[in-house]
Amino acid sequence: MDALTHTLTYTGVRFAYPDRAGAAIDDVDLALSAGELVVLAGASGSGKSTLLRAANGLVPHATGGRFAGEVLVAGRSTRAHEPRRLTDVVGFVHQDPEAQFVVDHVESDIAFALENLGHDAASMRRRVEEVLDALAIAHLRDRDPATLSGGERQRVAIAGALAAAPGVLVLDEPTSQLDPQGADDVLAALARLNADLGTTVLLAEHRLDRAAPLADRALVMAAGRIVADGPPVEALADYDGAPVVLRLGRLLGWDPPPMTVKDARRYAVGLGPLGTPETRRATGAQGAPIVRAEHVRVQLGGRRVLHDIELTLHEGEVVALLGRNGAGKSTLLRALTGFANLAHGTIERHARVAYVPQDPNALFSAPTARAEVAATLRLLGRHEPERVEQWLNRLHLDAVAERHPRTLSGGERQRLAIAAVAVGGAEVLLLDEPTRGMDTPSRTALEHAVHEHAAAGGAVLLATHDVELAARVAHRVVVLGAGDVVADGDAATVLAGSLFAPQVLRVLPPLLTLADVEAALCMP
């Protein structure tokens, strides 16, 4: 293959951030062919973002540091070209849909990049129309980005990055902050761009269940190096964040392994019935009620957000709260904490309640992660350094304990917020979207912490879009719809047959998780 067919190449790239020991990416050789859709996987801190930022020269131009090797995009080296000189050949979309708008008008925001490149009005008009259509967001053209949903915002951001017609589009976890519907919309738009316009797409993702089936090729990074590169089925075979169905196929020896639920079902038909193991979901064994909401109604700005909520949390229980955006999940958590005025109804609390909001940035005030956790105890008038260390350790934050909270990655910030709130020892933990932006090891650490907390007699209520998480950790699942509880029962019953069903349940009902499948296989 020659340079003409490659739109993006890395040759012997090594990069170290200033004031950080060790290289963030090391010895990276990579060539992307025109028209490829490549998904990049790897744990937090494995170098995914650094690799992506090197594509348009943000690394090292915007960060500083030591850079060796060369990145060529459309024949231009990032050594000689700053990011602003590359916007016409490579588009970049960030993780945070809130952080990439300049103008409070969708159409103008998309035109902004073109204006800066000196396009004339006529060609700007044409380009803006084209990208509005390509992303199917023409109906949003006169809106203010701040009023859009996360998925819509991300599609507007992608349109902005595409306006200058770059051949390469680089996206850093564009769906990690989105609900499943928004994530689906964004990924579908990317697949369409790739198929119709031939745009080369390089996409970093934690949640591979949806992205991997769309990709031509997958890369896995670990400790700054690319450790696997090939078709997704092969490259992701040994990756612990691989799609659930792929891991299921591996567990059951299906070959070639399935990438979608549809593929997996075909194998499952030939499989005899598996036993249903005794799981941890012992619904009868509930402890005493610890928080009880009765007839709770909450109005916000004249709009009734919660109608008539009945909900009880018991000691030793993990409850997942599901529901689409705007269903009232966050409001319910705030009401249970005491942060929302009740228009009607009562909330009894028999223990201390602690709440971690969706956007943890607002919580941080200390100069280091360790100090942040210690600050909670200090405010409670306690000095227990061993408790601080215990929570840092429990949520795998030891390595970043001395870093400034705002320099942490999204998943790390989320875990830090949970540690800083939970360290106070409240019996009831209310977590709003706790796994946003988290990779598999972090999520596993969180799941362990949640279980330990419940096993010690506490209760956890987590609002989440992640049904796989709900299937793994929850004893009970509550579904909210337009401010009402529309389902409340043990996890297997509520999740079964709904659109919320986790992938394992859709392939091998009534089993919910890979752990259930493993247990079933071990049965005689």
Partner: protein, 275 residues
């Protein structure tokens, strides 16, 4: 006439000697305007008397200053010394400082200065000068304090911002606590310097023939002596309160604020080593 065509302009990404010369010229212009605006009472002869008010010439000074600020920003951005992020930080800090000017002490002084000083220490003298100019302009809009005194206030704030940046450079090797003490001392001094400079705009206007008043053609030494006496009588106590406020604020809030500014400054000025 030297004009860069578009492709040529696009190829200029790093500072050229021409740009450096332009930067030096622009900042020199600001310094020159400042020296002329504040220094003229000391060197005028008895014949050359400006009108009894600054009302006419102040707007010219303000326009010149505005042009110099815009020119400096354009050149700094063009030569790559300032990025969009710098401008954003400059704008946000200017607005914040402008608002803080509303927080006044009864005895004199206000809360804007310590923020200006700490920001200039972290971001450097040139940024400090621009921040002083901008913050004063912003605060004038916020406090509706626009008048012939505005260009003098802008210049004085720019001088103090630039000086704070130099003090920041000079004290960089110190450990945090002693450095904070030096900065607090600078904040203390800065209140008097600002008072000394800013009284100069109005002092020559009051020519009542008294022992403390300005009269043209007295010579540098006598004029200086009269002005000092006027300052001590009229403004010293007021500025002393401001000086204490500055020093107290820097000592109390300097460490966390400087840490936050330094973190941003660090990110705004990346150093890349190509291997």
């Amino acid at each position: 006439m030297h004009a860069l065509t578009a492709p040529e302009a696009a190829s200029v990404t790093r500072s050229s000697s021409l740009d450096r010369a332009r930067v030096a010229l622009t900042y020199s212009l600001v310094v020159l305007i400042g020296v002329a605006a504040f220094g003229w009472p000391f060197v005028t002869s008895s014949q050359a008397l400006p009108g009894a008010e600054h009302g006419g010439d102040a707007w010219l000074w303000a326009a010149l200053l505005g042009a110099a600020v815009v020119g400096a920003l354009v050149i700094e951005v063009h030569r790559g010394a300032m990025r969009g992020a710098h401008i954003a930080v400059l704008g946000v800090l200017s607005a914040m400082i402008g608002l803080l000017r509303l927080a006044r002490l009864a005895g004199g002084g206000n809360a804007m200065w310590f923020v200006l000083i700490l920001a200039a220490v972290a971001f450097g003298p040139r940024f400090g000068a621009l921040l002083g100019l901008n913050a004063m302009a912003a605060s004038a809009v916020i406090t509706a304090g626009i008048g012939p005194w505005l260009p003098f206030q802008m210049l004085a704030a720019a001088a103090l911002g630039a000086l704070a940046g130099l003090v920041g450079h000079a004290t960089r090797a110190l450990s945090p606590r002693p450095r904070l003490v030096v900065l607090a001392a600078y904040g203390w001094v800065a209140a008097f310097v600002f008072g000394l400079l800013i009284n100069l705009w109005s002092w020559p206007l009051i020519q009542d023939g008294g022992a403390l008043s300005y009269a043209p053609g007295l010579g540098v030494a006598t004029t200086l002596h009269r002005y000092w006496s006027f300052y001590v009588a009229d403004s010293l106590a007021w500025d002393a309160a401001g000086a204490l406020l500055n020093a107290a604020c820097i000592l109390a809030l300097g460490a966390p604020m400087l840490a936050a500014f330094d973190r941003v400054a660090h990110r705004l000025a990346p150093v890349t080593v190509w291997e």
